[in-house]
Symmetry: C2
DNA sequence: GTCTATAGTTTGATAGAC
DNA sequence: GTCTATCAAACTATAGAC
């Protein structure tokens, strides 16, 4: 109460939580997202496994924090980006940033966009962040004249297909993602053609 | 030795193996591919868990048999199909059959095309079957004038993206797959345009 | 080929002292 | 908040009798 700035305790705690989450990502990169265990995480943090329960009430809660963290960072990246005025160029730049971010970290990509942990489902709060990400993409497509839900669905599925093929068959390479710009043109042309016949 | 046709024992055994694999798929449909355990499988077969080791030397060997089984059935389906003479129609019919087959069974789709069991990797023999499936697709694309590796990659990734979105977000529905024919046209037109400028 | 019995491991989670 | 100690559960796999 005395000499302690209001919220300082909470801040300390939040910093510790962030550190644990960062270490969890680190461990996931070494052992795979499926190889992440509370024992292993505690060992890397230099504490004992039960101590983690002071921060996360279950393993799923840890996954949820990681899921939220990944989406928040992606959102930050998308929002920090200075986009070209031309809507089509903006879509390309935006999707390029998206793909780069996603491919930079395999386990993060898996946790955010695949379902590598069958027992884990994000909480409503965390899921809302994922919807925000999708909202950014949709907004940029809309600006480029893509408004039809079917066109949006196809576009998103195409990007997801590229990312998935890339990370599954050639992580670190560009065999699939190098076609991104061309395919964006293809999809946008087609959508524009059909929406203004 | 006497009165026993040559190979009859092997046949009986193969039939039993096939029965076990079929039951494993059945169980996977009920419990999820991740919920498949040797105890549960044995229970459904009316035997005890260690008895399974008379047929499979490990759980991964069971997964491998399932993986091979799924690919073999898909291959049969693709080969049994009577295709239109027009190459483009043939591609469409072929991919429609592919998507229908794949979406008809969620856990099979997961085992064949995703990586739901991190510890499982198919044996060389089983993987060859998966390559055969891809070979069929490539042959039909080739007949329709798609020969460039990049174009093939994009096409395959697009179909995979549709399937994945469909099964993850709307299993049993057609929100994504209904665009298949249109997208086939889009990709084929584009590939043809660039290969014969 | 099937059984009983059991080993051996891994892992998430809780109780309670400090 | 961190510790020790421990639980409980689930599961793969093996040994050896029949």
């Amino acid at each position: 109460m005395i000499g302690t700035p209001a919220g300082a305790v909470a801040e300390r705690r939040a910093a510790r939580v962030a550190e644990i989450v960062a270490t969890a990502w680190e461990l996931a990169r070494d052992e795979g997202i499926g190889g992440l265990t509370l024992h292993g995480l505690a060992r890397r943090l230099g504490i004992r496994q039960p101590s983690l329960y002071a921060y996360f009430e279950s393993k799923n809660a840890l996954y949820d924090a990681m899921f939220a963290d990944g989406n928040r960072k992606l959102l930050e990246r998308l929002d920090a980006q200075r986009l070209p005025n031309d809507p089509r160029r903006a879509v390309k730049a935006s999707m390029q940033a998206f793909v780069d971010f996603v491919l930079a970290d395999t386990p993060r990509c898996q946790l955010l966009f695949q379902r590598p942990i069958p027992t884990f489902e994000p909480s409503a709060e965390s899921y809302a962040l994922a919807e925000d990400v999708l909202g950014r993409v949709i907004a940029r497509l809309d600006a480029a004249g893509v408004e039809d839900q079917g066109d949006i669905d196809c576009f998103v599925a195409m990007v997801a297909g590229l990312v998935d093929a890339q990370i599954s068959n050639d992580p670190g390479g560009t065999r699939w993602t190098r076609h991104l710009d061309r395919l964006v043109d293809l999809y946008l042309d087609d959508a524009n053609r059909r929406s203004t016949p």
